[in-house]
Amino acid sequence: MAATFTKVLLLAALACPCLAGAQAVIEGSVALLRPRVEPAGAARYSGSAPVIVASSEPMLAVVYLEGQFPAVTNPPRVVQMAQQNLRFLPGVLPVRKGTVVEFPNQDDFYHNVFSYSKAKRFDLGRYQKDEKPAAQLFDKPGVVRVNCEIHQQMRGTILVLETPHFTRTDTNGIFRLENLPAGKFVLKAWLDEGRVLERPVELRDGARLRIDFPGK
């Protein structure tokens, strides 16, 4: 476990093109979407689906910088999306294209992970806690929705990006992107439901930008 972690750090360090020198920083906030949960058990739904408590995790946004970046040549990074307490953790996981994601089962019962998204279709089958976590390489950019066929309410989203510069906002929508190269880019904020907000940015070395993505 510790070895893996070291490897991740190492890879991260390698992925950064230039650690030296003054790097640009973008800070800001994104107006997050409210989770859309309609009142359960509305009278209409006679033959309705079983009522499932919505995930308590708020819908986060992913902010990333889009532009031309050198391709990844190194062995792929490995990150994890765990299955814990009947949830995918984290619920939204941004990764760079070519990243391997592991799905360790941390619950005491079977889980399954599958995706029908075009960016990556896979089905990891069912497995338990102590089995070797299944891993999947994400080599095409796009939104990958992952589900557990056993547990309806488990939903995860993996955002496969071409850029190495991305981050998740916190639950208040605040984000900070560091170590950004200079140049002209487009800053995008991906919200769930497929909404993407964008803003062109021009970064200079050592610059500190503040960009807010207001709501509608």
Binding site: P35, R36, V37, E38, P39, A40, A42, R44, Y45, S46, G47, S48, A49, P50, V51, I52, A54, S55, F114, S115, Y116, S117, K118, R121, V143, R145, N147, C148, E149, I150, H151, Q152, Q153, R155, G194
Partner: protein, 614 residues
């Protein structure tokens, strides 16, 4: 209106009765036929609708359950739908269909299915699998699907209905559809819907399709073709044989379109000459799907034919009955009218006074008894007439009439009456030597002539006493100028006798006395035998005045004189001393018109000529 004969009335009555009975029978039978057919139709229609509904339920219940289960529980299906909706790419959509193909393997059988997005748009697979009945590829079907989508979120999660689609051969085909919404269990957001479509097996006789017929619901025995069952959808009627006449179609469209007959409803439509009873009920009253109705059509032609036949029969029987009734009436009235005619003749005869007429008695029935009674009556009448004649002979006509009218009873009344006495002068001397027959002849001749005169002057002949005659004026009824009547009568009596003297073998002279006054008039005698007469002192006076009168002379008393006024000329006579009267009685002699006293002819009979005044 001319009077109607009994025969005519009887015939008329018979006709009315038969016509009434026939009409009632006609009405009742028509009503009953109509009701019977209506009940039959209603029953069978209800059964048919129930049958169809139960069959549909049986057919679809498993499918419905399976769809719900799939949509609500299959994470993979929802994930695939979400992926297809989000990405909208052929690959994703195909994956969705592949997934669903897999999941619906045991449900599909002959069904086609499509997924719709939340707006009702079909998620079309890029490569149609060449299924011949797949309705989702057809534009018409898709139009209807769009209608579903518009209201998708407003309705139940699962709805059952029918849609129409064209077959590849261009025919219209009814599809039974089950729409199950796919709802995200977390957000309760409607993602889309799964729609399964089947050709309606009971209506669609495609031939190749094996219908899944539920067991247990016995099919009601419908007379073939009597009831047309079908589904009305969007202005068209879909049924097993697929066609109904154009006017019927139009009639149905007019009645059904725009309505949603939630309850079972029936009505009549009347296109051209072929009326139909229609029984209709919405198939899917509360869904958001296009309103479809189950329709049972029943042509009333058969019921009408039966009614017509029944009507013809009843009319024929009615006609025959009428003929029979008329014949019987004719016979009966003949038996009645002949005796009646005879009775009428008899009555006429009796009216004419022919009491001897006899009606023929033909039997012992009512008519026979009537004829017998008639004959008895005639006999009775004849007898009465005889009595009356006799009565008239023995009593005055007026008195006789009063007696007949039962007005004359024993007892009398006080009236002013003029009493006239007339006797033959020298009668005793004259008749002493005559044979009695001759005397009777003479008297009859005399009295007959005089009686006529008295009657002419409204006098009542009271009685004959020997040769004298007593007449009264003013009783039993007064003619107002009774004294004048009595006086003119007296003068006429004298003239009459004189004229009789000219022609008769016997020469007679008469003397007359008249007295007027209040006296008792009435029927007197015993209860067994009555005599209408007057009593009083004035009667005596009249008799006395008569005996004082010379031949051809009429003497009146003071009261009569006063009553005469100027009507008749009188000559005062010296007051008379009369037996029974204490005082001298004033008397007057009546003068014939012309002012001269009566011409007294010399009397041939010496005895009659020399009657002295006493």
């Amino acid at each position: 209106m001319p009077p109607l004969s009994f025969r005519f009335k009887l015939l008329l009555a018979m006709m009315l009765v038969v016509a009434g009975a026939t009409g009632t029978a006609l009405y009742v039978s028509q009503q009953s036929v109509r009701e019977t057919y209506q009940n039959l139709f209603e029953q069978q229609s209800r059964a048919q609708i129930k049958y169809f509904t139960s069959l549909q339920e049986a057919r679809l219940s498993f499918i419905k359950e399976k769809c719900l289960d799939l949509v609500n529980k299959s994470v993979r299906l929802r994930a695939a739908l979400q992926a297809a909706l989000e990405e909208g790419e052929a690959e994703s959509v195909n994956l969705l269909y592949t997934r669903a193909d897999d999941e619906l393997r045991d449900v599909r059988r002959d069904a086609a299915f499509v997924f719709l997005d939340a707006k009702g748009r079909v998620l079309a697979r890029s490569k149609p699998d060449g299924r011949p009945g797949d309705p989702a590829d057809r534009p018409r079907f898709q139009q209807q699907l769009a209608l579903i989508g518009r209201e998708m979120s407003a309705h139940e999660q699962q709805q059952v209905g029918v849609l129409a689609g064209e077959t590849p051969e261009g025919r219209w085909q009814l599809q039974e559809i089950v729409v199950t919404k796919v709802v995200d269990p977390l957000t309760h957001q409607t993602l889309g819907a799964l729609l399964l479509a089947f050709p309606v097996p009971d209506l669609w006789s495609g031939g190749k399709r094996k219908t899944t017929r539920a067991t247990g619901a016995p099919r009601p025995a419908l007379p073939s073709g009597a009831i047309k069952f079908g589904i009305w959808l969007d202005g068209r009627f879909y049924s097993r044989d697929d066609t109904i006449p154009e006017p019927l179609q139009a009639g149905l469209a007019e009645k059904i379109s725009g309505h949603l007959w939630q309850e079972q409803t029936d009505f009549l439509i009347w296109p051209d000459t072929d009326p139909h009873r229609v029984f209709v009920q919405a198939l899917n009253p509360v869904s958001g799907l296009p309103a479809a109705h189950q329709v049972c059509l029943y042509s009333l032609a058969e019921a009408r034919a039966v009614q017509q036949e029944l009507q013809t029969r009843i009319l024929i029987f009615g006609g025959l009955t009428l003929l029979g009734a008329l014949a019987i009436s004719l016979v009966l009235t003949h038996g009645l009218s002949v005796p009646l005619r005879e009775l009428v003749t008899g009555t006429n005869e009796i009216q004419r006074g022919n009491f001897a007429f006899k009606v023929r008695v033909r039997g012992r029935d009512d008519i026979g008894r009537l004829a017998a009674s008639f004959n008895d009556m005639a006999v009775g009448l004849a007898l009465k007439e005889k009595y009356r004649t006799v009565l008239n002979l023995v009593a005055d006509e007026k008195v006789a009439q009063q007696l007949i009218d039962n007005q004359a009873v024993l007892g009398g009344e006080l009236r002013e009456v003029s009493v006239l006495f007339c006797d033959i002068r020298g009668f005793t001397a004259l008749t002493q030597t005559m044979p009695p027959e001759l005397v009777i002849d003479m008297l009859n001749e005399h009295m007959t002539a005089l009686t006529r005169v008295v009657k002419r002057h409204h006098g009542v002949l009271d009685k004959f006493v020997g040769d004298s005659l007593m007449a009264i004026f003013g009783a039993p009824v007064s003619h107002e100028n009774d004294a004048i009547n009595a006086s003119t009568c007296a003068l006429d009596l004298i003239l009459e006798r004189e004229q009789l003297n000219n022609t008769s073998r016997h020469q007679l002279q008469i003397g007359i006395g008249i007295a007027t006054g209040t006296m008792v008039a009435g029927c007197m005698g015993s209860a067994d035998r009555l005599n209408y007469t007057v009593l009083g002192e004035r009667v005596n006076l009249a008799a006395r005045l008569c005996s004082h009168a010379n031949p051809g002379e009429a003497i009146i008393d003071q009261t009569t004189r006063e009553r005469l006024g100027d009507a008749i000329t009188v000559t005062p006579l010296p007051a008379l001393i009369l037996k029974g009267f204490s005082e001298n009685v004033p008397a007057y002699e009546l003068q014939q018109a012309g002012g001269t006293t009566l011409l007294r002819r010399p009397i041939k009979t010496p005895a009659a000529a020399t009657v002295p005044r006493t």
